[in-house]
């Protein structure tokens, strides 16, 4: 008998949560060991997700019924090809946690170390749970676990300013979660079930259209806020710029993607039920995405604060993903799915490199950081590789997905969106060129920048590893595209655009 792989599924959630619960206990005895402990927990989770992805590649989607209560009665965990993004997600945590060691020691008092790592593990567990649950209400709960830990993480480093940014994030995030709960409640009232597959099966033509549309709109709005798509992005820049850099990497690279995963789940649900006019919805998504790309890039051009610039660039990149799904073409959907992962990688690279620069020099604006490449050549090189990747130049990780999304735009006979995409890329190119120019080709204005030393190896090794991954994923990018391809039919509207 073969190994029962689906038995691994609950461990992917349980490991980080139990690890997080034990972290404060450890912190009370020896705060120094909380970092290595958190890393151990993350590595164990990586091992579990490797097993899960290997199984889904071989045998297709599989489920696990918690406590043996199957289907409509119990809570079901479900692992499909979209959920496979939990592997790169936990791998990125395995890089971010060691990077944080030195950062945390310098910028937080020892009493907060335990809380910091516990919250990081909770964010990871929440996102993994969110991605693998097959239950609507469970989706809400895991979203709240992720969001609540994120609010706290934004505030963990600073005092008043950080708390104010975190509270703005909390108010919008809480309303978004509430809308998701409202949509869940409406669907439960209409169908009497919370299981995603079961709800889809019960949303027949005899169910009242009005409430179904309200539920759909509430869920979609909620996830668009979480994903920070343009008009709903107002909470993002402050929260992502003020948080400690490893946290910015987690928030900007990974947490906004819960919104995307949520969108995918909702579209899968309503796709199966064929209950709402998905073609019109996809067109709206494409427009939102296009506007997001251009506006995010436009706003980023005017930023002098390095991390604020990166935060606005996240809005553009989420725009690419949303546009990719909205184009309703197989190529574009494949590109968008992979960009979820690649953008996470690139944005983590950029935020950690920015964190390293800020950590060593004490400055955070481009005008202050001029000429830092002479003192910190390796970190600046990582920053430059990240910039080239996010603009989407070959041969880096950003190129392939954007190329696929553009291909999809022409495939779907919607060339204007393809032009919006290229136009947005030009904008993005402009401000990243400005950044590279400031770091490399301008004379330092501060003595501290000229005399800065390279970051210690515990921070440098993660940076170099991430930069190398940006290049490797650009050169060997076909595998993730091929992996996700069989799954995208489930998020395209029935009968084409």
């Amino acid at each position: 008998m073969s190994v029962a792989w689906e038995q691994l599924l609950p461990w992917a959630v349980a490991l980080p949560f139990v690890g997080a619960a034990l972290t404060p206990v450890l912190a009370a005895r020896s705060p120094r060991w909380t970092g290595p402990w958190a890393w151990g927990v993350v590595l164990a989770t990586v091992a579990v997700t490797v097993g899960l992805v290997a199984h889904v590649a071989e045998a297709g989607a599989f489920t696990y019924a918690i406590g043996g209560w199957s289907g409509a009665y119990g809570i079901e965990l479900r692992f499909d090809r979209f959920a496979a993004w939990v592997l790169p997600l936990s791998l990125l945590f395995a890089v971010i946690v060691p990077f944080s060691w030195r950062y945390v020691v310098v910028s937080l008092e020892p009493a907060r170390w335990g809380a910091f790592y516990a919250l990081l593990l909770l964010v990871m567990g929440g996102m993994i749970g969110f991605s693998i649950t097959g239950d609507l209400f469970n989706l809400f709960v895991f979203m709240e676990v992720t969001s609540l830990s994120s609010y706290a993480l934004v505030a963990v480093g600073g005092r008043g300013v950080a708390a104010w940014a975190a509270l703005k994030y909390l108010f919008l995030g809480a309303v978004a979660s509430l809308l998701a709960l409202l949509g869940t409640a409406l669907l439960f009232v209409l169908t009497g079930s919370l299981n995603l597959a079961d709800v889809a099966a019960r949303l027949g033509p005899d169910v009242a259209r009005g409430p179904v549309l309200i539920a759909f709109a509430a869920l979609v709005t909620s996830f668009l806020v979480k994903a920070a798509v343009f008009p709903l992005h107002v909470w993002l820049p402050d929260a992502h710029a003020i948080a400690p850099s490893p946290v910015s990497a987690v928030l900007s690279g990974l947490v906004v993607k819960t919104g995307i995963v949520g969108l995918v789940r909702v579209v899968q649900l309503f796709h199966a039920a064929d209950a709402v006019p998905l073609a019109g919805f996809h067109l709206a998504l494409a427009w939102l995405g296009a506007v997001s790309i251009v506006m995010g890039a436009f706003l980023a051009i005017f930023q002098d604060d390095l991390k604020l610039m990166l935060a606005y660039s996240t809005i553009s990149n989420v725009g690419y993903i949303v546009l990719g799904f909205g184009l309703a073409a197989p190529y574009a959907a494949v590109g968008a799915s992979v960009h979820v992962v690649n953008h996470a990688l690139i944005k983590t690279t950029l935020f950690l490199a920015a964190g390293a620069l800020i950590h060593q020099t004490g400055f955070r604006t481009l005008s202050d950081l001029r000429g830092v490449a002479r003192a910190m050549p390796q970190t600046a090189a990582v920053m430059a590789i990240g910039a080239v990747s996010i603009v989407g130049l070959p041969p880096t990780a950003g190129f392939l997905c954007k190329w696929y999304i553009a291909l999809g735009a022409f495939e779907a006979d919607r060339a204007p969106f393809g032009f919006a995409l290229v136009f947005g890329a030009l904008f993005i190119f402009v401000y990243y060129i400005r950044m590279v120019n400031a770091l490399y080709f301008q004379a330092p204005v501060h003595a501290r920048v000229a005399e800065a030393t390279e970051v210690p190896w515990s921070m440098r090794a993660p940076l170099l590893l991430l930069a190398a991954s940006c290049l490797v994923l650009g050169l060997l990018g076909g595998a993730p595209l091929a992996f996700v391809e069989p799954a995208v039919a489930g998020v395209l509207p029935v009968g084409g655009p």
């Binding site: 209400f137 809400f140 709960v141 709240e144 609540l148 609010y151 706290a152 505030a155 005092r159 008043g160 300013v161 708390a163 104010w164 975190a166 509270l167 909390l170 108010f171 809480a174 309303v175 979660s177 509430l178 709960l181 409202l182 409640a185 439960f188 009232v189 009497g192 919370l194």
Partner: protein, 116 residues
């Protein structure tokens, strides 16, 4: 009870939701905003709980003489979980508000916006 063809509880839920939203958007004091958020959340919980009601239904307990139809127990389990979530959100928000007050000395949004 369904005057004008709409159940009264749905009217109450919609009214509570709008009152909470108004407080959250229009009030300038952070504590009042938080209260508005709580009112909104309560309205959604009320909606979920009332959906479990079955006309003439018994409590869903397996005791001697229990007769179907039973009221649905799932909404209550959902709302319990939801309350736990909302209490945590409120606790985090309150602790952030305490920090904001300690740093800025005010809870009014229009004054907070003017400070760096």
């Amino acid at each position: 009870m369904a005057p004008f063809g709409v159940d009264l509880d749905y009217v109450a839920v919609a009214a509570l939701f709008c009152i909470g939203l108004y407080m959250l958007v229009a009030k300038s004091n952070l504590l009042k905003k938080l209260l508005g958020l709580n009112v909104m959340e309560t309205s959604v919980f009320a909606f979920i709980v009332t959906s479990g009601m079955v006309e003439g239904g018994d409590p869903p307990l397996l005791v001697a003489g229990a007769q179907p139809p039973f009221a649905s127990p799932i909404p209550q389990a959902m709302v319990l979980t939801g309350i736990v979530v909302v209490v945590s959100v409120t606790a985090v928000a309150l602790s952030l508000i305490v920090q904001i007050y300690a740093h800025y000395g005010t809870l009014e949004v229009d004054e907070l916006k003017e400070r760096p």
